[in-house]
Each structure stands twice: as C-alpha cells, then as structure tokens.
Amino acid sequence: MSDELTPQTPAPVAPVFETKKGMWSRGSGDTSGYGNIERRVAMPGQTAGPFGQPWDAVHARATELLPFLDGGLVLFDRGELTIFVPRERIQEAVRAFRDDAHLRFEICVSVSGVHYPQQTGAELHVVYHLLSITHNRRVRLEVTCPEGDAHVPSIVATYPMADWHERETWDMFGIEFDGHPGLTRILMPDDWVGHPQRKDYPLGGVDIQYKGATVPAPDQRRTYN
C-alpha cells in the first residue's frame, strides 16, 4: 500500500509551529508597542553533523543502509537525534533500524502524533521513539503527512508492540496507518466522531459562575503564549 502514497518533495523542513504576533498575551489589547512584531516559531536543532558519538555513527549507518535519508532533515537537539523519514519509506527504515547489528533498535517504545496546523502539507507528524537495549541508546524517527491525506504505513509488521500505539494515534489524530491489522479506536468510544488531540478540536468545558463573576472555560481563557 505504501507504493500508492505520493512521494514527498521537497525534503521535509523543521516544523513551524506558528507565526506569533506581539510579545505578550493574545486576545487582549497590547499597549506595549510590540504588537506588530512577528515571529516564526520553528523546531530548533543542529541539522548537520558532527553530533558527537554515538549519534554520528547512528546517522552514518542509517544513511548507508537507507540512501534516501541522505540529504533529508535531521535535528539534533538537547542530546536527542531526530531523523525525518519520508512516509512511504518508513517500513523499510524501521526494518533496517531493528535488524542491522550496528543500529539494533529492538524496541519501539512509543508512537505518538503531533499536530502542527501551520505546516501546510505536513500538518500531522508521527513520532517514533526507538530504544536499543543492545547499545543502550535512543533515536527518534519522525514522519509527516498532510491533513488531507492522513495516511502513514503501519510499522506493526516490524514492531508488533506498536499496534496499540498506532491505534491511539489514529484515535487521537486521525492518522490512518495503512496495513495495520485492526485499526480501530482504542481510548475513545467506537462511535466517536472526530479526533480529540488535533489542535482544531475544542477542549470543551463550560463557563463557571462564582460570586457573580464568570470564569470562561479553560480553552476560552486568555493565553500568555
């Protein structure tokens, strides 16, 4: 099924969270004079080596086994290595990461999603955390897909433990894992509509009235972000 997915060109870029205006709280009058400042918030990290050992070795070996990773996005931040993998190659990539003796990431500890609505064409990210018990190290793989075509090949064939994690990611973010043995909702009720952890899905809640004053629901309150 992975052949049907459109190859992603150009190479993925670091996720841009959002464009922030002003310096202070949003949704309130800004009297600071900084209201017109515009900032683009993107994921930080060193994109080219050397990252130091063992990360250089991991990256070099991965690129050697999977030539398509060459020139792709890599982020090294706070001692953690993130390798962005084109989604149509993720199954191939995880197989190499598990089976190669120099990589040997036996366990995929977690699969989770992140929603970056501002990153057009790559709104949804799937984050895989791999753990190598043999070498005692971790690596993070990241795959992106557009909201309109939220399909990512399943890695359950390589990492059976990713089964429920992928179901949770489908449940919460609406990312369809093609080839998953039974992609059903896991935390929300079976007949639930929508995917709650997407950024455009409201938190819900009601206004609270207390001693005559009204406190808005948590997602309606002023933010200082």
Binding site: E80, N136, D178, I186, P196, Y224
Partner: protein, 442 residues
C-alpha cells in the same frame, strides 16, 4: 479499510447475563446445549481486572482460545487538558494517570520539562534526593498494591490486608511531606514543592523500621506456599524473545533473567550514585515477577536509607532551582491544619515587597516560558519504562505532552500470556502485568 471492522461479527444465538447467584443455571444450560464455544465478557467492572479493564474471552470449556483486552474506559483526556494549563499546572494533571505510582508520573514529566529548559544540571542536590526518596517509597507502595491485589485475586486475602497496612504508612509519610496521600503534584519543574517537614526524618526512620519488620511476612506467607506456587508458577510465561517483540520492560522483562533497569542503564536524578542491585529471576512466569517485586521493595529500602543519610548531610540546602524565573515562588509550610502557604512568604509579598508580589502573581498565573523543542524522557516506574514526550512552542503551556505508560504497552501481551491457558490463570496473568488503568487510558 475503515468501515468493515464489524463485518466478521457473528450474531450470538444465546446471551447469558450473569448477575450473581445464577451460575449453576448458566452452567447447566450450557452443558445441555453441548455448545463448544462460549464468549465471556469480563469487565469493565470486574474486581479482578485492576480497574476498568475489559477482557473479551472466547472459551472452549475452561480453556481460553482467544482473549482481547478492551481499554479506554478511564480515558480522561489528561494529555489534551495539559495543553491548556501552564507547565507547572501540568504536574497536577499527569500525577493522576497511574494513581498507584503518582510520583513517577510527576518525576518523568518534570525531568522532561527540565530537559527542555536546559536546567537538568541545575537541579539542587537536595531536590534530587527528595525525588529519589519519594520515588523509591512509591515503588514500594506500588509493588505492595501489585502483590496485595494479585494475592487477593487468587484467594490470599491476608496478603492484600497486610499490603495495604504497610502502604498506608507510606502514604502517611507522603501526606506529611506533600500534604496529600495521592495525586501530590509535589515534584515540580525545577525541584520539589517543599522540603521535608520537621520531624519528617524521624517519621521516615520509623517507617523504614516498620517495613523492615513486616516485609519478611510476605516471603513467609507466599514464597513457599504450595497453593500460591501452584497458582503462580509456570503461569503467564513470556520469554525474552517475546518480551523484546512486545517491547516489555520492568519486572516482566527482569523475570526472564535480563538485567535491564533504566536506573542503572540510563540514570536520572543521580541514581548512578546510589548503591542497589537490579533484581532478576529466571522463571519467566508470574511467580518470578512476584519474587522480583518483593525483592525490589528491599532494594528500594536500601536506597531510602541512603537518602536519609544524604538528607541529613544536606540539611538546609535549597529544594528548588535558583532561577527565580522558573522556581515556584511560594515556599509551602505545614500548619497544624494541613499544608498551606508559608507565613513568612505571605508577609514578604503582602507587606514588604511590591516587586515580589508582582513576580509571584505573574509566575503563578502566567507561568514561565519554555524554549521551543521536543524531548523524550524515560524513568523506571514500578511497572516498566514510563516515558514522556513533550513538545514546546516556546510558550507557557505544553504544545503537546504524551505519556508512554508501561501498562498500556504491556496489556498488548495479554493474548500471548493467556491463550491456550485456563480462565482462572487470566487473572494471575493480568495481575503479573500490574496495569493501572488510570495510566493505561490517561
């Protein structure tokens, strides 16, 4: 691919509703039919499923041919909620996930936030000692619940009553130090909420003495008890290959004899400076996991004693990071009526310093900003690897927080452990995983 999930379902031709007291009728009716397959729906409200776990079993007589766990009944949207709260408030949410081991949830989240802030090395030594102390006591409490409820489920009711007796004393100590027995929100980004109270060390010493006196009872009750051994030995076997395949960590992995403990292999909070052993067993079964849990209580006690020594040496040192832009301003104090604000602090901000008041107000309502980034942090919880992924967009709230609960991952292996076995062993298998549904469903 998306709509035909239920096509394979076959309509049941007879449905029994067991409400209690009508078991013989059901058994007689089923025997009369001579039907080979019966589907049993166990839970979500079942005393032996450790909370609201639902197990769907397909049975041939008393043999389980298929079993599928169903989860999600305790999903409370903790991860989503945390996106609308400040970084510090997030602790009060995530502590409620695995409510039997709340301090591990807090610790892993705070360690992740500290990694994002880049202040991991700035955490005061005394704060790390208190964290380790709390986590190890919590590990004992969690293992006591695992052993106690596990024992109760196979009829060893006394194991449960004595386990809760010991746990109660640990919770008393938690109450003395944090103000609450569970859901503490005690470990905060940058350190811990407050220091050990006056008399805390004495209480801790008597707690350790109590545990040392009473922990041997579990070994006496269970270790060589023939009924206990018959119910546990050779049950819920999972060998190393299966553990690797299912990503299993914690006591289940260690029951295969593999020495894997994040406290040793990827230390955090200064665990590399404590002396303790990783407990392993080689039987790969529920009995081995029980023995590991029991022995780990002793290892945790060892660490707790080392913590007491260190706490005495570091008396008076700070328990919160020095950076006032991050540190929670109020120093809490323990009054006669429970925990509250420190009188000194309130007098300072209300009566002496306008700037201190502004600072207090700003950091409590707005919170602090965390640099943009994404990190993963893992700790060795009593159940296995507890992981936390946090993403920050540079704001005062988590952009995304995701928790990898060991129970969530481990429940996937229930079919591996139970299929082909007897129905009575299903409860033993589930108990040996020790899932806590608050953590599984988050």
């Amino acid at each position: 691919m998306s709509t035909d999930y239920f096509k394979g379902d076959v309509e049941a031709d007879r449905v029994y509703l067991a409400q209690g007291g009508d078991w013989s009728e059901i058994a007689a009716s089923q025997a009369e039919r001579g039907d080979e397959t019966i589907v049993v729906n166990m839970g979500p409200q079942h005393p032996s499923t450790h909370g609201v776990l639902r197990l769907i079993l397909e049975m041939d007589g008393e043999t389980v041919t298929h079993i599928r766990p169903g989860i999600g009944f305790l999903h409370t949207g903790i991860e989503k909620n945390m996106e609308y709260k400040t970084w510090t408030q997030g602790v009060a949410f995530c502590t409620r996930m695995d409510y039997v081991a709340p301090l591990f949830n807090e610790a892993v989240y705070c360690l992740a936030v500290e990694k994002l802030l880049g202040i991991t090395d700035d955490i005061p030594e005394r704060a790390s000692i208190i964290r380790v102390l709390m986590m190890e006591l919590n590990r004992i409490a969690s293992h006591l619940v695992a052993m106690g409820t596990g024992g109760m489920e196979i009829g060893a009711l006394t194991v449960m009553t004595i386990a809760f007796r010991e746990r109660e004393l640990i919770l008393d100590f938690f109450e003395a130090i944090s103000g609450t027995r569970m859901n503490h929100a005690f470990i905060r980004p940058g350190g811990v909420a407050n220091d050990v109270p006056e008399g805390g060390i004495e209480q801790l010493r008597s707690l350790v003495a109590w545990l040392k006196k009473h922990l041997p009872e579990y070994a006496t009750f269970c270790n060589e008890n023939p009924i206990f051994k018959l119910r546990m030995q050779g049950i819920a076997k999972l060998d190393l290959t299966a553990c690797m395949m299912m990503g299993i960590t914690g006591p289940i992995l260690r029951s295969t004899g593999y020495e894997w403990d994040l406290r040793k292999s990827q230390p955090y909070c200064g665990y590399e400076t404590y002396e303790f052993d990783v407990v392993t067993w080689d039987t790969q079964d529920a009995y081995g996991r029980f023995r590991i849990r029991l022995q780990e209580c002793w290892e945790s006690l060892k660490i707790v004693e080392q913590c007491i020594d260190r706490l005495e040496k570091t008396q008076g040192q700070p328990v919160m990071v020095g950076d006032k832009k991050i540190a929670w301003p109020a120093s809490l104090a323990l009054g006669p009526d429970g925990q509250g604000n420190s009188f000194e602090h309130v007098r300072h901000i209300m009566g002496e310093s306008m700037e201190a008041l502004i600072h207090h107000f700003k950091i409590v309502t707005e919170g602090f900003k965390v640099p943009v980034g994404q990190v993963y942090q893992a700790v060795e919880s009593p159940k296995g690897e507890l992981g936390c992924t946090v993403v920050s967009d540079g704001g005062t709230r988590p952009y995304r927080a995701h928790f990898r609960d060991p129970g969530f991952n481990h429940l996937q292996s229930v079919p591996l452990m139970c299929e082909g076995g007897m129905i009575s062993d299903v409860v033993v298998a589930v108990a040996s995983i020790d899932p806590v549904l608050g953590g599984v469903d988050r």
